[in-house]
Symmetry: C2
Subunit: 187 residues, 2 copies
């Protein structure tokens, strides 16, 4: 099927955005990267995604300049968001907010984003509901929300780690084995 | 392929959002609905989307409660955004902003969103860059931006109509033949 003018990638910013992140799994991988998931096996276990599918989607995101491979302290590489990927945060937040409002669980959101400085929730406009300032991605904590299911026996390491507040973009697991982020050391 | 826990629609708001609007064409149809596109033929011509594909995606959006069928003044029906659909605006804006920043044309964005009250651009946080207030969707104008290509001979009616400022949610074409939106009459 020939691409129409407004989906040719020549003219429509939204169309081009959806070509990168509209795929069924892609934005979930990006969200996990914001949560600090960095290793192939961590993404695979958390998303329960077949390794071949995950490998394909990671390649797509690297080719699109959203993710980059970073050296691990071990033999392996890890995946991290580029500035272009970090710029997707408002879209990830907006889609998550919409999903919580219309497709969420009765108890409320599973995750609540808070301003690390004063622990107040982030508003829909990306500003802190307490101090009113716009909050940088690196100053946002992802914290358990009222809709979060109780921990299960078979929870993967990412799900278990996200049962505690965690600063976005910082490595979620085994911080000692991953490079320190520019913003500072893991709390 | 069995759906993983975080994509089963039971737990993850973002996953459930992407199940509704992540499909290749769906968010483009929603964007056009914000621009005031209402008729099947208008969507088909603007997106150059095969009618069978468009019909399938419209059904998906109606089943999801994002669009609804509304009586036309003629024999046909038109499609309009529900409150759940209108709540997608921050996500549409965020994805468009990201696309303009990283996949846009050299000249700048094709469309600039402005506050109808004072004609100032809307900021990335959804607030008016002049008065600083959050701007309701119905008070936003979609206006031609510096990256908008010159009108072409074969432009469809939607593309031609969007060469002029237009208030979101108001019928874009043939207002006399479509129901008046609650906010008031077409300018």
């Amino acid at each position: 099927m020939p691409l129409p003018r407004d989906y040719s990638g020549q003219t429509c910013a939204l169309a081009r955005s959806m070509e990168v992140i509209g795929e069924r799994w892609t934005l979930l991988i990006v969200r996990d990267a914001f949560y600090g998931v960095r290793r192939f096996g961590e993404f695979a276990a958390h998303l329960r995604l077949p390794r071949a599918v995950l490998a394909d989607r990671l390649t797509t995101l690297i080719d699109a300049g959203v993710l980059e491979r970073l050296p691990d302290t071990g033999r392996r590489e890890v995946y991290g968001l580029t500035p272009k990927g970090i710029a997707l945060w408002p879209a990830v937040r907006a889609l998550t907010t919409w999903g919580d409002a219309f497709h969420g669980v009765a108890g409320g959101p599973r995750r609540v984003f808070r301003h690390a400085t004063d622990d107040a929730p982030i508003g829909d406009d990306g500003r802190c509901t307490d101090c009113g300032r716009p909050v940088e991605v690196g100053d946002i904590l992802v914290t358990p929300g009222p809709g979060l299911a109780p921990a299960a026996e078979d929870d993967d390491p990412v799900t278990r780690a996200l049962a505690r507040p965690h600063r976005l973009l910082r490595p979620l697991l085994d911080p000692a084995r991953t490079p320190r982020p520019k913003r500072g050391s893991h709390p």
